[in-house]
Symmetry: C2
Amino acid sequence: MLLQDIEQPIRIELSQDRSYDVVFSAFDKLPEGLRNANLRPGKCLVITDTNVAGHYRSRIDSVLKDDGWDPLILTLPAGETTKSPKHLQAIYDAALAWKIDRQTPVLALGGGVIGDLTGFAAATLLRGVPFVQIPTSLIAQVDSAIGGKTGINHEEGKNLVGVFYQPKLVFTDTTLLYTLPRREWLSGLAEAIKHALILDEAFFAWIESEMSRILARDPEVVPDLVYRAAAIKAKIVSEDELERGRRVLLNFGHTFGHALERALGYGTYTHGEAVALGMKAALHMSRRFNRHLKQSRAEKVLERITMPPIPSSLGIPAVREAMSSDKKRESDRLYFVLLSKLGDAYVTDDVTPSDIDAALAHALGRP
Amino acid sequence: MLLQDIEQPIRIELSQDRSYDVVFSAFDKLPEGLRNANLRPGKCLVITDTNVAGHYRSRIDSVLKDDGWDPLILTLPAGETTKSPKHLQAIYDAALAWKIDRQTPVLALGGGVIGDLTGFAAATLLRGVPFVQIPTSLIAQVDSAIGGKTGINHEEGKNLVGVFYQPKLVFTDTTLLYTLPRREWLSGLAEAIKHALILDEAFFAWIESEMSRILARDPEVVPDLVYRAAAIKAKIVSEDELERGRRVLLNFGHTFGHALERALGYGTYTHGEAVALGMKAALHMSRRFNRHLKQSRAEKVLERITMPPIPSSLGIPAVREAMSSDKKRESDRLYFVLLSKLGDAYVTDDVTPSDIDAALAHALGRP
């Protein structure tokens, strides 16, 4: 289907007044989305980054002004290092010097970095102002913009400072994805596949059959991909807002993936690429415990997410070591999200070191 | 009554799992209080300031260790300037380098500054860790430690960055107040009187009759004073956690008080002193609209809160000017909390400039 065919927003059902919609719509209908979320024209603050600003800064400015908004747009450097106290302070300074009030919306126009940082700023300005996510990357549209995780990094690790803070609206225009670099598209695709694998076998089968069109970003399949993947994230978040239970299933592939990112040094692989490799390991481990799992179907799809070759210098012991030190907090235990079948995930910590080694050997192609 | 006679904690009733107790108990029973709040011995982080550390640092260290806790105590400079991004970062650094986890409690041992700052750190570390208030000043015991307002200052104004974050426990030992400097005692007393005036006529009558013993910090009346004033704060907070309604009544005397603080420059008066003067103005204005208000009884009590003389250079126009510029945000309106009678407050913005001038002239003794 095409973007304009999506009429129904995805509802995130939460208690009190925290429910909100993920609206699928063309960019120029943003003012309508804001009104439907009970946000009335006045001042608003837009946070974006240098990459996104090049494509969309003047567009969002005119779209908002046309409806009577008075937007102040702050463009921050692109990249993970922007999730820092320094850039958080830059948002505070801009917002407060501009005399925002408790009704002034703060809009994040960007990917996961801008969304996380802006959400944290919105949560903490004047003890909370309205927050709107306008995700511009696939990973943000299907994952990070939904669910209220906000925060910044600390030198001790990623996302160690933050809060849960739900947006009033997630406004998703899938046509923004056509300007995304290919590698970022594939990285987001890994997360979409992850959502299918943990909860929705039919969606996985659809991805499997449409993979070529998905890779080509065919406008007739992209909206389906985003909508269905976002719906899975929405469902899990609605059931477990504060990550005390089921939400942990979203970490499928992440125990291995984080360890790979760490062992290789951040930046070698994108997060999505590391998760794709991590899922390959997790699928192998899942199969060990669940003999009927059709892991080869899943692996075949994942193999189409091309990525830089694994450096031959990377040894399995190094990844295993990174896995232990990735237990950031003392009380963290090493746990794995596994699949009993395609579309059905569970959590376990009952695995042996040799299970882990075998899974890693498989994912890294080291027989 | 004596501290040990208070058996019943004050309950703050909030939705979901956010309810908590204000427990009145001697300092050495802190571990019992922590257990009752479902906090189990392990690591904990204690934030305090140089003033409080001199009295209680070694005591809290040994009390916690005796029950199996492993406390890390961080002592920050005393004073309002500690509510800054720099000291917030110092807490993050200490906590994360020490590898706290989501179960590690963070304890604030101090007055309002330490409580607000520590609460904000607890709210934002790992998206929220358990937070415990151990208020050591009167103003903190009756007001700031209860209700979940946390935050830091920004150069644009006080408390502009923060969140609502409820503690798991407020642990109040009224005997800590005997080491408080007299001026701070009086400052807190102004807030306690404010609570009585807005909501509890009987409590006001009790303060009126016991004022001499209160000023002398008689151990037989101090626990009553703190308990009854804290109970009023607790009641209002339970009804209006996020300050969308009734909670604003707690600002009785504050529209004038803030303007006085601002016009004189912060530091000339303590916050409580400024509020005491502000209440004098608000009482005068209240009487204009409510002819049967016995404002002279209230003023007589407030006059016993001695404070530095009002500088003769301070003119009424300067205070009025500060009042307008105190409307920090564009949409803020100038409103006043007034009394219809002792123990009954309401909000209005329907006052004339001459009402304001008359009230100020009265409070500043400028006929």
